[in-house]
């Protein structure tokens, strides 16, 4: 399985992290739940649900941390019977980002945490500065939109 990324610079760090940590699922996203890179999810819509929930956890934990006047939330780990869920927040040239990792019994939270630190460093090194983007869609996108919505609400 290959990692899927929004921008090419994310690919090498994600693949290295997955290889080294033994993670089953990995996702990098913005705090608002937009997915920048993912490994292991099969359907795009599933990855969006996981991202929404991960961002929700990070947001609510961040708020509790803020109420306690503590420094920013960094890491959360949940250990289930067969899976662990790791959520880490880090700063990058692209602003704050979140990493969501699901791992199994073939690795450990210690390894995930360890390689996550390297992952954050790799991402920071690889991230290019953001450049302004031109128009994305053609001006006459309405016809496509109408057709898409018509098939959506048949």
């Amino acid at each position: 399985m290959k990692a899927r990324v929004v921008e090419p610079w994310l690919l090498a760090p994600v693949e290295r992290f997955v290889r080294e940590s033994g993670a089953r699922l990995t996702m990098v996203m913005t705090p608002s739940g937009q997915v920048l890179a993912q490994y292991g999810f099969t359907r795009a819509v599933d990855v969006m649900s996981a991202a929404a929930l991960g961002a929700g956890i990070a947001a609510s934990t961040g708020e509790i941390v803020r109420m306690l006047d503590e420094p920013d939330f960094r890491v959360l780990n949940h250990q289930s019977a067969q899976h662990g869920i790791f959520l880490g927040r880090f700063d990058s040239r692209r602003g704050p980002l979140l990493g969501l990792v699901v791992y199994g019994e073939d690795t450990s939270i210690g390894l995930v945490q360890l390689f996550f630190e390297d992952f954050v460093a790799d991402l920071e090194e690889a991230a290019p500065a953001e450049t302004p983007r031109g128009p994305v869609l053609a001006a006459d996108f309405e016809r496509d939109l109408n057709e898409s919505l018509a098939t959506l609400f048949r």
Binding site: V6, T151, F153
Partner: protein
């Protein structure tokens, strides 16, 4: 801000359904979920209380299809309407590309609608977003209720739609007006992507 993957030509946009408690935000998403073919939607996630009131958010990912050669996906979120959940509303509103304000057409709910609309404006402002620039659509829900209980669309327009944004009378339980609302917000959000974007 909407996410654009130029390599795989994909666009992901976040749309938030906002409005006072029990105005029908969750029902909007539930109806859409029920109507859309399975291969075009993900699982609907609801973080709700035991009495089915939205506690954090509802979430529905949709595959819109191909727009100008880009596979386009929408993430539909609702916020909890009750006044005391403002911290949660702010969190869900982060990074929204467009907002659907679902108003409750009942006469006795008018103040709640106004308060919620002001709250939306304040929360957007806190994130540095001007309510005049973010794509916004109004939906006057519950128009199916007896006419002596509700305000007509023209009255609601006068009371709530100061910015003259697209607005639709609706009945979420039977799906009336929901498609039009979604179409209007989609068009407005995508319109922004056909213009030059700041970094």
């Amino acid at each position: 801000m909407s996410l654009v993957n130029f390599t795989s030509r994909e666009i992901t946009c976040k749309i938030v359904y906002y409005g006072p408690g029990r105005s029908g935000k969750t029902t909007n998403l539930q109806y859409i979920y029920g109507r859309v073919p399975e291969d075009r939607r993900g699982r609907m996630v609801s973080l709700a209380t035991q009495t089915d009131r939205t506690l954090f958010f509802d979430f529905l990912p949709l595959e819109l299809g191909s727009i100008s050669g880009f596979t386009t996906r929408f993430q539909l979120y609702t916020v909890p309407g009750q006044v005391y959940y403002n911290a949660t509303r702010k969190l869900v509103l982060q990074g929204a590309d467009g907002v659907v304000f679902v108003a409750d057409s009942q006469i006795r709910q008018l103040d709640e609608n106004i308060e919620s609309l002001q709250n939306l404006q304040a929360n957007l402002l806190e994130q540095g977003i001007d309510v005049r620039t973010i794509p916004l659509v109004l939906q006057y829900n519950k128009q199916d209720l007896p006419s002596d209980l509700i305000l007509q669309v023209a009255d609601l327009e006068e009371q709530l739609n100061f910015r003259m944004v697209p607005a639709f009378g609706a009945s979420a339980v039977v799906g009336k007006g929901l498609f039009e609302t979604l179409r209007a917000i989609s068009e407005r959000v995508l319109r922004k992507l056909s213009e030059a974007q700041p970094a």
